[in-house]
């Protein structure tokens, strides 16, 4: 099947063209925020900068960062760069920690968003013949409206199902002939399991692809979803502060998400020092909006840890690709000098057939960091002989060592003994911090 593009010219432009576009748009955006957003002007002045100091992407690193707390400090409209008469939409993010944040969109902002969502849909093979089943929530959350706008602009048929009522989701999948499913990966799993329970053969559906994001998921989950729903599952990335879903998008290659570089500049930084680090190295992802009118945040720190890949992609797109976020910089542990994310441990557990219920204990014994992973036992891993269970433990330890690069002690614990959380699970207990050691 030939690769589909929504805006082929820009999606496959040369790196020189992309750089020229970014230079021009960055300069314009910096002027825009300097003139219209008081806090940005103040910060630039404090840093001894005027818009004239920013002549292109190579000057970007001079500008101060924007962080989530800024959106809270200037809540609700203090960072808007246009008068509210030009704002046609608001979205908000509840944030699992702290006060909600709000962002605004002008008509042009929405137009750009629709385009990048249409790029995502085309990249998974959709066109005007498709039925796009949107099970992201519609509301202040950006998920529903984002993909909906893209489907409409593409000329596909948008089905605004929104989230919840899984029985009805199944009925609509069957009756309306949905071909592309958009929702969170965990909800896709749930829909898949519901199909199984109801005895609905996924092959009897018209579904061929899924666009899943808004929460962390692993390659193993991708395999499970692909099997459960008999589709190709694609990753999408976005955040309310930057736009919503489709800031970056996966293509037919399923090998990282292309960043819409004509609208956003991506940087990787060392989360501790704020220094820019080279592409290809793991660090915190930072985005600068270069076409937005209402909320063109400059150097927004996402707290997501990932890698930017500049290798050419077989799909023909020239936009750089970012990896699936490996975790939040807040979650990153440094153990014996090695960066470890809970999500890596989860990947191994799922691959080896264990439940994703686990708890990580980090400690320091005799000046050496220790990593203990408690995993719930299940019947598949259980045996009447100690040697069989030890073998399973050792296999798991070997797999963890090979992925993490450091050794971990596995302890198998009773089922349901690791507490379940209603919201974000607390996976890590770092006892080193309790001892007053350095973070």
């Amino acid at each position: 099947m030939a690769e589909k593009y929504w805006q082929k010219e820009i999606e496959t432009a040369s790196r020189e063209e992309i750089k020229a576009i970014q230079d021009e748009r960055l300069v314009k955006t910096v002027k825009h925020v300097f003139q219209n957003v008081e806090p940005y002007r103040k910060r630039m002045e404090e840093a001894g900068l005027t818009p004239d100091d920013i002549r292109g992407v190579e000057d970007l690193h001079k500008l101060p960062f924007t962080v989530k707390q800024d959106l809270r400090d200037y809540y609700p409209y203090g960072l808007f760069a246009v008068p509210t008469k030009d704002v046609v939409r608001l979205h908000a993010s509840s944030g699992t920690t702290g006060k909600q944040i709000v962002v605004g969109y002008t008509r042009n902002d929405l137009d750009v968003w629709d385009d990048i969502a249409a790029r995502q849909l085309c990249a998974v093979g959709a066109d005007e013949n498709d039925f796009v089943h949107v099970s992201y929530g519609y509301g202040l959350f950006t998920g529903g409206f984002g993909l909906h706008g893209g489907a409409t602009k593409l000329g596909a048929t948008a089905i605004p199902v929104s989230s919840g009522n899984t029985d009805r989701q199944v009925t609509i999948l069957q009756d309306f002939g949905s071909t592309v499913l958009c929702c969170t990966p965990s909800y896709a799993m749930y829909i898949g399991e519901t199909l199984k329970k109801k005895g609905v053969d996924p092959k009897s559906l018209s579904l061929k692809a899924g666009i899943f994001g808004a929460e962390p998921w692993t390659e193993e989950m991708r395999q499970q979803i692909q099997e459960l729903l008999d589709i190709k599952a694609y990753d999408v990335y976005g955040l309310t502060e930057i736009m919503g879903p489709c800031v970056s998008y996966e293509c037919s290659q399923q090998a990282g998400m292309h960043v819409n570089e004509d609208h956003f500049i991506i940087e990787t930084i060392n989360p501790d020092t704020g220094e820019v680090i080279p592409n290809g190295e793991v660090g915190e992802l930072v985005f600068t909006c270069i076409t937005k009118e209402c909320c063109p945040f400059i150097r927004y720190r996402t707290r997501d840890i990932g890698v930017v890949n500049t290798e050419p992609c077989a799909c023909g797109r020239t936009f750089v690709r970012m990896s699936k976020p490996m975790g939040r910089s807040d979650d990153m542990m440094i153990i014996r000098g090695v960066n470890v994310f809970p999500s890596q441990i989860e990947t191994v557990l799922l691959k080896m057939g264990y439940s994703p219920n686990y708890k990580i204990y980090v400690d320091r014994v005799n000046n050496t960091d220790t990593l203990d992973v408690h995993v719930e036992m299940n019947e598949d891993m259980f045996s009447d002989t100690v040697s069989d269970i030890k073998k399973n433990e050792e296999k798991l330890e070997a797999e963890l060592r090979s992925l993490l690069g450091i050794s971990a002690n596995v302890k198998l614990v009773a089922p349901n003994s690791i507490e379940r959380s209603m919201g974000k699970a607390v996976r890590v207990e770092d006892k080193r911090k309790l001892l007053g050691g350095k973070k």
């Binding site: 009447d384 002989t385 100690v386 302890k411 009773a414 089922p415």
Partner: protein, 143 residues
């Protein structure tokens, strides 16, 4: 010939064994034999019970991790040298024993041995040649 053994995962912490024995007691399940294999982190409680199916289902309903294994139950005369005879037969027959445990029956004349081996039928045959009988699942309830 074999009998059914239940193994239960027991985490090494206060109260985990009580939960299992309480559950079985409440359901009126009689323990015929038991043994515990323990490691630093966890134990495996192995049981021969009066009603295996019921025990499996109530333990699973309490979220216990259980598994069922076919083991050999051997009836011995309760006298010196009885175990020695069995062990000799196994050794000469080149049988590898994963684990074993013994218990007394309700009469003083017999003792019983539970053997975890690879080939239950072969072991039963070898023992029978020496006049040592293995018990059936039905006989478990008569012990």
């Amino acid at each position: 010939m074999s009998i059914r053994q239940i193994s239960v995962f027991v985490e090494n912490k206060k109260g985990s064994l009580v939960e299992i024995t309480d559950t079985l007691a409440k359901e009126n399940i009689d323990l015929r034999a038991m043994s515990i294999a323990d490691t630093q982190d966890f134990g495996i409680l192995r049981l021969i019970v009066s009603d295996t199916d019921k025990a499996l289902s109530v333990l699973r309903s309490k979220n216990c991790i259980v598994t069922e294994t076919a083991v050999v139950g051997v009836r011995l005369r309760n006298e010196p040298g009885a175990l020695a005879t069995v062990v000799k037969v196994l050794s000469e027959g080149d049988i590898n024993v994963e684990y074993m445990y013994a218990f007394n029956g309700s009469t003083p004349h017999h003792a019983y041995l539970v053997l975890r081996v690879n080939d239950n039928d072969k072991v039963s045959e070898l023992l029978l040649k020496e006049g040592i009988k293995c018990i059936t699942q039905q006989q478990v309830s008569e012990i």
